[in-house]
């Protein structure tokens, strides 16, 4: 029978243990299962072994990344023969290393779950982007916790989506309540028919247009970005975009919008341009929904920006 592995990633003090403990002891997660919990971090919160045993869950500790070997997992399989395995991964360990490890037959990672303390997120993404990146890039379900009023949901969300566009995000407030957060107010006013997107707001605008294309339909937009390349499907179509640093300067992610203009053929990739045009909606089969397309009326080449990278603050 298949053994499911759930991998929990996130920094020390991000709430991994509390999350795992709640899952094991307050839901029916352990019902009719033999569970093994592998812990490689010893944080502030500790597990209650006796309590876990009452849920038919065994607990083992790992103190070094070197222990992730095929032989070790075989040994665990032999000894505990679990139907499901939860792994609490040390925040400093290399997630790729764990995922690359050969596992016993029938053992398979089925979900990666990540916890992030929203209060330190800003500090960590500025200084430890590469570590955060590896927590986020593989995740299926990401939980932001300890959110308070001073933290913008769009800042959290956009930074994550730039790294991993398909993961599901849950927002948990300081009091533990979930997803009752309103969308933030946008830094620009969208009540008028014309919208001039400031360089600083480029990322927020593109992300919001992707999520809520309807509210931009028919509006005239002016914005600056790089000519990334021509669109493969639309005649005269091209992409205007800028890069978001997701790990470091070597590893970036494109944020942008599809445009249409006859001059598309004449533009040089990475040339900086300013476009003005009207947003039309088109149905995208791949996305299963509408996307914004900017029908450009006015296009000009402009000097590059001092800071070409997109931020979401």
């Amino acid at each position: 029978m298949r053994t499911r592995i759930y991998l929990f990633t996130g920094f020390l003090d991000s709430g991994k243990t509390t999350f795992i403990n709640d899952t094991l002891t307050t839901t029916d997660f352990c019902e009719n299962e033999k569970t093994l919990l592998i812990v490689s971090e010893q944080g502030e919160i500790e597990y209650n072994q006796e309590q876990l045993e009452s849920f038919n869950c065994d607990l083992v500790y790992v103190t070094s990344e070197e222990q992730w070997t095929y032989e070790y997992f075989e040994e665990l399989k032999e000894k505990y023969n679990p139907t499901q395995v939860l792994v609490e991964l040390n925040g400093m360990y290399n997630v790729n290393r764990f995922l690359a490890c050969s596992l016993p037959d029938e053992w398979q990672v089925v979900q990666v779950l990540t916890t992030i303390n929203a209060q330190t997120f800003g500090l960590y993404i500025q200084n430890m982007r590469s570590l955060l990146f590896q927590h986020v890039v593989h995740t299926d379900l990401l939980i932001f916790n300890r959110i308070n009023d001073s933290i913008k949901k769009s800042f959290l969300r956009n930074n994550i989506k730039a790294i991993n566009s398909s993961c599901q995000i849950i927002y948990e407030k300081e009091d533990g309540t979930i997803n009752a957060l309103d969308d933030d107010e946008l830094p620009f006013d969208i009540s008028g028919d014309e919208l001039n997107i400031l360089d600083h707001d480029f990322g927020i605008f593109c992300m919001d247009a992707l999520d809520h294309p309807d509210k931009y339909a028919g509006k005239t937009i002016t914005m600056k970005g790089k000519f990334i390349g021509r669109d493969k499907q639309i005649e005269d179509g091209f992409v205007i975009g800028r890069l978001a640093m997701v790990c470091c300067e070597e590893d970036t992610s494109l944020i942008g919008m599809i445009c249409e203009h006859p001059a598309a053929k004449q533009l040089i990739p990475n040339e900086w341009i300013q476009v003005t045009g009207k947003i039309h909606l088109e149905y995208d089969n791949e996305l299963g929904g509408n996307v914004c397309i900017l029908k450009v009326e006015d296009l000009k080449v402009v000097p590059p920006l001092d800071n070409e990278y997109v931020t979401f603050d």
């Binding site: 400093m92 430890m128 982007r129």
Partner: protein, 349 residues
């Protein structure tokens, strides 16, 4: 400090994990102790409390920021360039480097060494550690954390006012397990002046040296010297002496040449009331059980977070209230000292 006519720039490296308090510390040092110096700050981290430009401008501090820290990209090139530029444009008295919290301290030290600039003088390597997090970081961060402690010349614990003495002792044991030489600052920062912190960083006020100086004992060889017989001071650098304990290779005639004194020192976070300390000193000053004590000196915290300073000579001692020190310190000099018994008397391990 001058060397062959050109100005030397002292380099202080302030390492520590994100949120440990590096920026607060740097601010305190700049505001309280470095107003007379020309300082340049090189930052490789975007901290929680940004050191704002106006504050630095007021203090006459130049600031150089480097790219966002990323441990998967090499920053060495950038860093080396920034450092060279700083030295040759500003010729500062002091360069404070705040590296990224997840960089290795040894790598940063090496990067400074590799600049090979005669004007740079490595002064201190500091690791700032949040006293509340010391244990969990040591259990989980491995190399990131251990490397900072191993290579630090001074370790500064932050937020010690938020933990009890038991936890503090536990932190110290973790640190001592990785580094037995570094000074460890354990006193809450609000109780300390910038000067005391700076002296601890520069190891300027060792009790041993103060005592030896007061007794006119050469700290190198343990001999008394005449005033005019300095121990090879002046032009020569002190080097480690050979096992025969000859100072200046026997060329000087020492006063009391047969008397060789040793000194023992201890740092502790143990607290003492005035009565407890006087009780201890009464025994120490009157008993022969501890060896031949010439002098003893100490600065110790009380349970009420005040500080006691004491001086002791045979048959006499003085205890007085005084300024807080970076940690509790004891030093005894004398002959044939029985170390274990002395520390046992003070109740320290």
């Amino acid at each position: 400090m001058k060397k062959e006519g050109h100005i030397m720039s002292k380099v202080d490296i302030i390492s520590g994990f994100l949120g440990a308090g590096k920026t607060t510390l740097i601010k305190k040092l700049i505001q309280e102790s470095l107003s007379q110096e020309k300082v340049v700050l090189i930052e490789n981290e975007f901290g929680e409390i940004g050191i704002d430009g106006s504050f630095l401008k007021d203090a006459g501090i130049e600031i150089t920021e480097m790219n966002s820290g990323c441990i998967c990209c090499s920053l060495v090139g950038d860093f080396s360039e920034a450092l060279k530029k700083v030295v040759h444009e500003y010729h500062p008295d002091r360069i404070i480097i705040e590296p990224s919290g997840v960089g290795k301290l040894s790598d940063v030290i090496q990067a400074v060494v590799d600049v090979h600039d005669d004007e740079l003088q490595l002064n201190s390597f500091v690791a700032v550690i949040d006293a509340k997090k010391c244990k969990t970081y040591s259990l989980n961060f491995g190399e990131f954390f251990n490397n900072q402690i191993e290579y630090a010349s001074t370790i500064i614990l932050s937020r010690t006012q938020d933990i009890n003495n038991e936890k503090l002792e536990e932190d110290i044991a973790i640190i001592k397990g990785l580094n037995t030489n570094a000074n460890i600052i354990t006193t809450p920062w609000d109780d300390l002046t910038g000067d005391i912190i700076l002296n601890a960083l520069e190891n300027k006020d060792s009790l041993k040296e103060i005592l030896m100086k007061e007794e006119e004992i050469c700290p190198e060889c343990g001999h008394h010297h005449h005033h005019d017989h300095e121990c090879c001071h002046g032009e020569h650098h002190h080097e480690h002496h050979h096992h025969d304990h000859e100072c200046c290779h026997g060329e000087h005639h020492h006063h009391h040449a047969d008397e060789v004194f040793t000194s023992i020192g201890k740092e502790t976070v143990h607290t003492y009331t005035q009565e407890q300390l006087e009780e201890i000193l009464k025994v120490l000053s009157s008993s022969e059980d501890f060896g031949h004590i010439l002098r003893a000196k100490g600065i110790l915290p009380t349970p009420a977070h005040t500080w006691l300073h004491f001086d002791l000579v045979p048959g006499e001692y003085e205890v007085r209230d005084g300024e807080a020190d970076y940690t509790g310190r004891l030093c005894v000099i004398g002959k044939d000292l029985i170390e274990e018994k002395i520390w046992e008397l003070f109740g320290v391990k």
